[in-house]
């Protein structure tokens, strides 16, 4: 007996397959484009000049070090703010808050995670930086610290949301086990629940970093955008400029195919590498945790 041809089945399967492949294709195309436009920079500017400390493209100074350090100092500052706040909030929502508070807070935090960052940029320009200027007696409030504060605020909802899910997934029996041994609520959280949710909490932190380092608009609006090498602690309170802000601000006005144009794409490559490293670190943590779980189950 001949097997009948199921045309509908075949067409639908092929369509799904095609959209799956196209997603991979698009990412690959973006990557190739980035490489094609960015790598020529290495031929046009000496590598040592790229790693110089002066960014002044009009005079052909293409040192991207200030931009990298600017991004790093702002991201590190943001994380120092966002880690403790994010984890503490997640612990509060998952472990301490009464049920009705949790049911209000959780959706609220998720709503915040979706807030357009330009809105926070507004807030930064109008409220945060004038406040910093008067409170810390700075020449200008538009500084790396203002950027850190805003980025921290942007990363907190992401961290809270994911870390809370991880804490929530810790079996109730773990907590009961600790309580039955005479542990207090805090001892249980610190020594049992948090370590048990470790991999999820680390993922939350990694994604928070990813969110912060890739952020453009809010940072561009409040950091003052001066490409100054930021390596002393004091530079946290001086204007700084990030890689993302540089690309966003200059890409529109650059002559296509010029050295400046290629260097901007090269910055994109550096950014891409950093994001990739953060993501690999995050997924390897998750992967390791999963492997351990599988070993236990087998």
């Amino acid at each position: 007996m001949q097997k009948p041809l199921h045309w509908r089945e075949i067409i639908i399967t092929r369509l799904i397959q095609a959209s799956g492949y196209s997603a991979i294709l698009f990412v690959a195309a973006i990557f190739l484009f980035l490489m094609r436009e960015g790598l020529p920079a290495l031929g046009e500017v000496k590598f040592s000049d790229l790693l110089a400390v002066r960014w002044y493209p009009i005079e052909a100074y293409f040192g991207i070090l200030p931009l990298i350090t600017g991004s790093l100092i702002i991201t590190i500052g943001a994380m120092l703010i966002a880690f403790p706040l994010g984890i503490a909030t997640a612990v509060y929502i998952s472990e301490i808050a009464p049920r009705w508070v949790r049911e209000i807070l959780k959706p609220l935090v998720e709503l915040l995670a979706g807030l357009p960052s330009v809105m926070l940029g507004f807030l930064g320009i109008l409220v945060v930086s004038p406040f910093l200027r008067t409170a810390l007696d700075l020449p200008t409030g538009l500084s790396a610290f203002a950027g850190s504060l805003l980025l921290g605020g942007i990363a907190v909802p992401t961290i809270v949301s994911i870390a809370e899910d991880a804490l929530d997934a810790v079996p109730r029996s773990y907590r009961e086990g600790a309580w039955a041994l005479g542990a207090t609520k805090w001892q249980t959280i610190w020594r049992v629940t948090l370590p048990a949710a470790r991999s999820g909490v680390l993922t939350a932190i990694m994604l928070g970093i990813g969110r912060a380092i890739g952020e453009t608009m809010a940072v561009m609006m409040v950091t003052g955008n001066a490409p100054v090498l930021a390596i002393t602690p004091g530079s946290l309170f001086a204007p700084a400029r990030t890689m993302t802000a540089t690309i966003a601000a200059e890409m529109g006005e650059v002559a296509s195919g010029s050295t400046h144009y290629h260097v901007l794409f090269f910055i994109g490559i550096v950014l891409f590498m950093i994001s990739l490293a953060v993501n690999i670190a995050a997924s390897s943590v998750v992967f390791r945790a999963k492997k351990r779980a599988e070993r236990i189950l087998s």
Partner: protein
């Protein structure tokens, strides 16, 4: 002598389900008292009253008293942390904490403020021996406890409770997930332990109830149907419902 005196205890969960109805029971010290009966009879709830673990679930109304050494532990002024050190508990599913075997054993003691290394090591060995697992784990105390088999994990949980030197040990179906050999080891350990501890066991089968009990209480739908000191409940039940359950007519 009676260690625990439960006096007309009634309990209701927040969703309205009744869990215990006017239960009165005297539990003798240094013996194994078994609470058995079909699921949903209130055995676990009763255990959780004894160390106040029910505080964490939503319990609406409770009346009656639970006296341990003459003190009503349901009194809101009771020091719950101290109570839980005195009344240890082993759960149905072994819950090893996410740390090393040694860490699991010393955790409770460290919480109680013990820092002397020698005392901690001593407690680790003593309690692992009591739980009949010392020989199996003595060479790998610093490995993660999660890597042990289920039966070993359950005995580590028992040892962890014993490390605190409680007076009462509650066991809620401690062998329900274990193979017969591990179950035998746990039961043998209990027979040793009863010389020094008051043990209350919710068994996972009538057979286990019969094997382990010094005294036994039969629970049905939140009600204490029958309690007899000694083995009488299995050989000579007074209540028709007990007889039906023990002989396997239902359950």
């Amino acid at each position: 002598m009676d260690k625990i005196l439960i006096d007309s205890l009634s309990l209701q969960y927040a969703d309205g389900t009744e869990s215990l109805r006017n239960v009165s029971l005297a539990i003798p010290e240094k013996a194994i008292t078994v609470l058995f009966g079909p699921a949903g009879g209130g055995k676990s709830t009763l255990l959780r009253c004894l160390n106040r673990l029910n505080d964490l679930t939503e319990v609406r109304a409770s009346s009656g008293k639970v006296l341990i050494d003459g003190e009503n532990v349901l009194d809101p002024k009771t020091d719950v942390i101290a109570l839980r050190r005195k009344v240890g508990m082993v759960f149905a599913r072994p819950v090893v904490l996410p740390m090393s075997i040694r860490g699991n054993l010393t955790y409770g003691l460290e919480l109680a403020g013990e820092t002397r290394r020698s005392r901690l090591d001593e407690a680790v060995e003593r309690s692992l021996r009591l739980a009949a697992i010392w020989d199996e784990v003595k060479d790998r105390l610093d490995e993660p406890a999660i890597a042990l088999s289920g039966g070993q994990q359950q005995r580590v949980c028992l040892a962890r409770v014993l490390a605190l030197q409680p007076e009462i040990v509650l066991l809620d179906e401690p062998t329900s997930g274990l193979d017969p050999i591990s179950t035998g080891k746990v039961e043998a350990a209990l027979q040793e332990l009863k010389k020094d501890y008051t043990i209350i066991l919710v068994p996972h089968s009538v057979q286990q109830a019969g094997r382990t009990a010094d005294h036994a209480a039969f629970f049905l739908q939140g009600e204490l149907v029958e309690f007899q000191p000694g083995h009488g409940i299995f050989t000579n039940p007074r209540d028709k419902r007990t007889e039906d359950y023990v002989t396997g007519r239902f359950g």
